[in-house]
């Protein structure tokens, strides 16, 4: 057990290292970062001065080392634009993104699990066809478009919900439903196939032949075992959710990390973009690490290996 935790932790650090390299070099794909932010009227001398100030006069390897050692201590450098530490800007927004992601994940799970189970139990029925069609539709629909359509219906015509911002509690409804529906569509597919897999197992047949109630068999014997692949897929889908939140936050002007990223990209505030990318990746792999550990603890077959 402990060996597993440690090896996963080492793997986590290696992944983080690779991400830091990728993020560092992505932001230098454009060539000289100073020329991008320096105003046109700056003289050559002023540009040199600026380059020195931000540390861009040093060799790339050294720049990377400084970037990583500082990043570990939580120092991502100052935003070019806001003239404040990028970390501060990110922490202000992070809570909003997590809140949105949590609400969307909750909506996704509440819709997907019952529907997935139902469609597996009533396999090849009309209900199954309807559920799987809806889930294909939800997968194919661009999430930001669903958001726009919700705005048209609930803000423009019905005037029930605010179209943007996070000023009142009910402002979270539309963005989280937008993301939750996409999540549900993806998860219900997985729930269905995981359930189908489990329903074919011998122990389920045994449970049935013992004369147990159908719902006991489904909930106790089948669902519990199907939960393992469902939880794994849920962890991976969080990547989709975080990615989707970037676009959906822009649609609803939700003041989260995604919107900060888009705003920073458009003004070329690269320190913030860099820090934002790292935070997204970090949240994603940390959640998946927790999920890995969790289901190792939940599943005795893996635990006692």
């Amino acid at each position: 057990m402990r060996g597993f935790f440690i090896s996963r932790l080492v793997q986590l650090c290696v992944t983080m290292f690779i991400i830091s390299v990728v993020v560092f070099f992505i932001l230098r794909l454009s060539g000289d970062p100073i020329l991008v932010v320096a105003p046109d009227f700056f003289s050559q001398e002023q540009i040199e001065q600026m380059r020195k100030f931000w540390g861009f006069d040093k060799p790339l390897g050294e720049q990377y080392l400084t970037f990583v050692t500082k990043a570990i201590t939580g120092d991502f450098g100052k935003s070019y634009l806001a003239k404040r530490p990028a970390m501060e800007l990110i922490l202000e927004r992070l809570g909003y993104t997590w809140m949105l992601a949590a609400a969307a994940a909750a909506i996704g799970l509440t819709i997907a699990i019952p529907l997935g189970i139902l469609s597996a139990l009533k396999r090849n029925s009309l209900l199954d066809l309807i559920i799987t069609s809806l889930s294909s539709l939800g997968t194919a629909m661009p999430s930001f478009w669903l958001g726009l359509m919700l705005i048209i219906i609930f803000s423009v015509y019905l005037r029930m919900l605010p179209a943007f911002g996070a000023l009142e509690p009910k402002a979270i409804i539309m963005p989280s439903v937008t993301l939750g529906v996409g999540m549900a569509a993806r998860l219900s597919r997985m729930t269905r196939s995981a359930m189908l897999e489990v329903l074919n197992q011998d122990y389920v047949r045994t449970a049935h032949s013992k004369g147990l109630l159908r719902q006991t068999v489904v909930m106790r014997h089948a669902l519990r075992n199907a939960l393992i692949p469902i939880v794994t897929v849920f962890g991976l889908q969080l990547g989709w959710l975080l990615g989707g939140s970037v676009v959906v936050e822009s649609v609803f002007s939700w003041p989260g990390l995604g919107r900060l990223m888009i705003d920073s990209i458009s003004v070329r505030d690269n320190t913030v973009v860099q820090a934002g990318l790292l935070f997204f990746a970090l949240s994603f792999i940390l959640i998946n690490y927790v999920i890995d550990v969790l289901y190792i603890m939940l599943d005795p077959r893996i635990r006692f290996q």
Binding site: V14, T15, V22, T139, M141, W145, G239, W240, V247, V273
Partner: protein, 306 residues
């Protein structure tokens, strides 16, 4: 050697001849049996035809402005023509623009998936076949790249590099390969222990030949299934990026850009937002259906199930 070759060829001929003649018919028969496959191929064929022959059937010039017919609701008709799906802020016909936009979606979907598929298959083949330390290093790199959600990675790169149709295709192509690499590598690990691979070695074939002739053909079907899924993902990514202003730039017509226009006038002209989104949804749905059908067809592990 000679004897072996000619006998192989003869066996091949005998086995192939009846099958080859009926292959298209067989495919059609399989397709007819599957409503999902049928729907998927019809939609995809339709969109591809639209992309190629769009200008011939387009009711109006997708760039043609008509300032007297701005923001007209669907069904509006004037002396210039009729606008089945309404007009936008410059009086351009939405239907014609949706038809024109199909080009970008098809182009982006096909070309970037070709790039990422090729890269990913080569990467996965090498990683799985060579194994050892190289495999661990290559796979850790893939893990690192996969940890950054795809769309965020693409947004960041296109924000830094700049936008445009060809740049966008390249960016999507050079970031999407990681999924293939992971899947193909897993398949190679399974296939390389198979008896026919060991037999090929025993017959004295070199490693490169074994990899290209015996392993690759057996893992490529996973790549094809994945490619179908990725076409959908790529089309959605392109529309998101263009919507955010980080993708294709006007005057090129894309569905994502149309949605970004629609958002500006969301209070008054719902049709500017509704129809391009429906176009994206139908296209991706077609691709998803086709992918599902291909998976059932090509992957014997799931054939008949689900």
């Amino acid at each position: 050697m000679d004897v072996q070759h000619s006998s192989q060829a003869r066996v091949g001929q005998i086995a192939d001849m009846p099958a080859r003649r009926s292959a298209p018919m067989r495919l059609l028969a399989i397709l007819l049996k599957s409503p999902v496959g049928m729907a998927g191929s019809l939609i995809v064929t339709g969109i591809v035809l639209l992309a190629f022959f769009g200008p011939l059937i387009s009711p109006q010039d997708p760039q043609g402005r008509n300032l007297r017919a701005r923001f007209k609701a669907p069904g509006y008709t004037d002396d210039i023509g009729s606008y089945a799906l309404g007009t936008d802020q410059l009086g351009r016909d939405i239907l014609s623009r949706i038809i024109a936009g199909s080009r970008v979606s098809v182009l982006v979907g096909v070309v970037s998936v070709l790039i990422s598929g090729t890269l990913g298959v080569i990467y996965g083949l090498i990683s799985g076949f060579v194994g050892g330390i190289l495999d661990s290093v290559l796979m850790r790199i893939v893990d690192g790249l996969l940890a950054i959600p795809f769309i965020i990675l693409v947004i960041a790169i296109s924000g830094v590099v700049g936008a445009g149709l060809s740049t966008l295709i390249l960016i999507l192509g050079f970031t999407g390969w990681t999924t293939y690499a992971r899947v193909i590598r897993g398949e190679v690990l399974k296939v390389r222990e198979m008896e026919y691979v060991i037999a090929a070695y025993a017959l004295g074939q070199n490693r490169l030949k074994v990899m290209l002739l015996h392993i690759m053909p057996n893992v490529i079907s996973s790549a094809i299934v994945l490619a179908a899924v990725q076409v959908g993902v790529t089309i959605l990514a392109e529309s998101s990026l263009s919507f955010l202003g980080l993708g294709v730039k006007p005057p090129t017509v894309t569905w994502g850009l149309m949605l970004s226009d629609g958002r500006q006038y969301i209070n008054s002209a719902w049709w500017m937002t509704a129809y391009p989104g429906i176009a994206i949804t139908i296209t991706v749905l077609g691709v998803v259906f086709l992918g599902d059908w291909l998976r059932d067809l090509l992957d014997p592990n799931v054939r008949g199930r689900a």
